[in-house]
Symmetry: C2
Subunit: 420 residues, 2 copies
């Protein structure tokens, strides 16, 4: 590993000096939100570092991108700014650099214990898109809803299918989720019923955070798409399967999804994930030229979901998956999104879709894990078909390096009962 | 009519003193964007009126809601502010009120000829939703795509179907639209093709502009929904039918829509439309209680679409429809949108869906008018199945009062060829 911080970082920590993910935090309840970077169990206050004049590289020297309530301005500056920020922060935090290490008053101001801060959604999200990029998820859902003959729609292998999601209801990890009410429909000709969702589910996803956007009418080339992606977060696309199943023909998911989507607070950069690059699956049929990339990258990121029923101490692991199972890459998703001229903006969020692996223990939602409620899932002493009020769902994600982790922390939310 | 302005307004004008729609404009290319109200062929500069201290009612007296680059702050203030603003402006512009009429220097500053100003999208749109509320449109599309047996999906009569749209690509009337490229699919088992859309279409829609929003998890009652709607604009939901047909299973329209959506610059308020209220269609089956409203209102707004081929002087009328044909009301759309707890925010846009009437001459898009290209539509000397490069599509909307109009002006856009 080599690189070491003067701040003590536990070997199990998700946030060593090799990671340096970006977020937005409030050091005190009354403080203004500001950018920060996670280091061990501390947050480095980038507004304080910036005000102290320590961002002295050519791109960031005279920028106010860290004196902002969200990361959008920094994201819009693009890869040169990101590289410079990472290099500056990595140097400042290293064990051999005295500028911060030996400045007690700046350390006091700029390093805040993580358990004292409030984390916020780190970006102003202009548009949120959710893809459908796991073949295993597509196959399982298709089999459940449309039967085992041709479970995967004909278009699926030709384009990364996606839908526009709801931006307003994206919330930060730790926010409670109110069980949605809505219409469902029993089989046959009976009328729809109305009430609290009876099939509340999570979806294990990750999401790319867009950096520089593109002008309306000007697509982004797939081989340049990586320069438009700042990093990745964990995302729980909470889903009400009964509402979704009744409403989604012919225009897709709407109220079955829009009641809440939870993101993790720390955006792990593609630079930090570079050591964990792996080959993307071979695509057959070969993609059309606008989706055919010179280098097709996935990332080896272990993902885990726990459910913690009300009153219990610990969560029970219900699935283990990995980002590398995705069929369509992040760069293909982004290039496809813009091929029609659609403009992306800094801070846009591109969900991967549920990340299911090939084995039943790696399925990314309860719909698949219980096969639409046909089976029970054991949580030690109790069982689940779908989520119950009081259940807390906790995602973690982590890439294991040689003696260090590049992790995402957690992405969690607890289910509250529907209003009466 | 009675009410009269000291500003001369032609009897055919869409913008007499009875209307007073709100927009955002720049008086000069280098000016800051600011709120304005249309009066005849002038724009009243609300920033100038506000700075002159003429908004002297209790709600607006000390508000900076008109010193803003968009209307969101004003929209968020709700109906008391909207009523007060309308009363103040109507009084200021009336023939009997001297405050503005007899103040030459203020008139000079605050009344700008409409043909000199640049209009902008009047709201920062956090989320854009498109409904599917015309039964005739649903029936025609269903017949074209899925055949004449059960063309309308079973859920359609139970809930206002909708999908999340793309907010970033919403543009103001007059903006050119680049023909999107994308994948289409011929019949049978052949592979998809890629190229400029061969079935580019318009969709004649209107859209409600949301005022005060709601907290996540707290639905809005259908009988209170009108207080959350500020007004209405014309909207062209440009659609690439070949891209849409291939991509939309199972998650709905995506790139077939997201390349551009055009809105008209003037938001006509529900207060101005009140004289044109008419009964909404009787709904059978009766809606579930959360959608059953005490008073179900539609509006009598005549709509017309012209296509003007490149090089021609005038457009040819291709359809005449009316807002009153919608099956689901604006208030039902809004209540449904929030019933799962989804939060709306000021400035959100809720499209009605294509407004088709019962007769073939009132269909709201070329897909229906040419029955997916099976028939030709005559534009005088030339014919159309779908839109050609250089075509300009012009929507108008107007309610006819007793001696005056409450109109929407136009919503237009011209098709540019795809990039190579
Ligand atoms: Ca999803
Ligand atoms: Ca539409
Ligand atoms: Mg969601
Ligand atoms: Mg559109
Ligand atoms: Ni400390």
């Amino acid at each position: 590993m080599g690189l070491k911080s003067f701040i003590e970082v536990h070997p199990d920590s998700h946030f060593p000096i090799q990671n340096l993910p970006f977020g937005i935090f409030k050091p005190e309840p009354a403080s203004d939100p500001r950018p920060g970077v996670a280091i061990g169990d501390h947050v480095l206050d980038l507004a304080a570092i910036s005000s102290a004049g320590l961002f002295d590289g050519p791109v960031l020297k005279s920028s106010d991108c860290f004196i902002q309530p969200n990361l959008n301005k920094f994201l819009g500056l693009g890869r040169p700014a990101w590289k410079e920020a990472r290099a500056t922060i990595q140097k400042l935090l290293s064990s051999t650099e005295p500028a911060l290490r030996d400045n007690a008053s700046l350390r006091q101001k700029a390093l805040v214990p993580m358990d004292k801060v409030e984390m916020l959604v780190p970006i102003a999200i202009g548009d949120y898109t959710d893809f459908f990029s796991s073949m295993h998820h597509a196959k399982n859902c298709g089999t459940i809803f449309r039967g085992p003959e041709n479970p995967i729609p004909a278009n699926w292998f030709h384009l990364p299918i996606a839908y526009h999601g709801r931006a307003s209801s994206i919330v930060i990890s730790g926010t409670d989720i109110v069980r949605p009410r809505g219409q469902g429909h029993p089989a046959g000709n009976s009328p729809p019923y109305f009430g609290p969702s009876q099939k509340l589910d999570f979806e294990l996803e990750m999401a790319a955070v867009v950096g520089p956007g593109n002008e309306l009418g000007k697509p982004i080339d797939v081989n340049e798409a990586a320069d438009h992606i700042f990093g990745v977060v964990l995302m729980n696309d909470w889903s009400a399967r009964d509402i979704q199943a009744w409403e989604y023909v012919p225009l897709g998911p709407f109220l079955g999804k829009s009641f809440g989507t939870t993101v993790s607070p720390w955006i792990v950069t593609l630079d930090a994930l570079e050591p964990f690059v792996c080959d993307a699956p071979k695509q057959n049929p070969p993609p059309l030229p606008y989706l055919a990339e010179t280098i097709s990258k996935n990332y080896d990121i272990s993902l885990e979901v726990r459910i913690k029923p009300a009153g219990e101490e610990h969560g029970h692991v219900v699935t283990k998956s990995n980002f590398k199972h995705l069929y369509w890459t992040l760069t293909q998703q982004l290039a496809h999104h813009t091929i029609n001229g659609c403009n992306l903006r800094p801070g846009d969020l591109l969900g991967t879709g549920t990340i299911s692996g090939p084995e039943p223990e790696s399925y990314g939602c309860l719909l698949e894990l219980t096969w639409n409620g046909q089976n029970q899932l054991s949580l030690g002493g109790t069982n689940r078909k779908f989520l119950e009020d009081g259940d807390e769902v906790i995602f973690t994600g982590c890439s294991k390096g040689n003696g260090y982790n590049v992790g995402f922390g957690t992405c969690s939310g607890k289910i509250l009962p529907s209003p009466l």
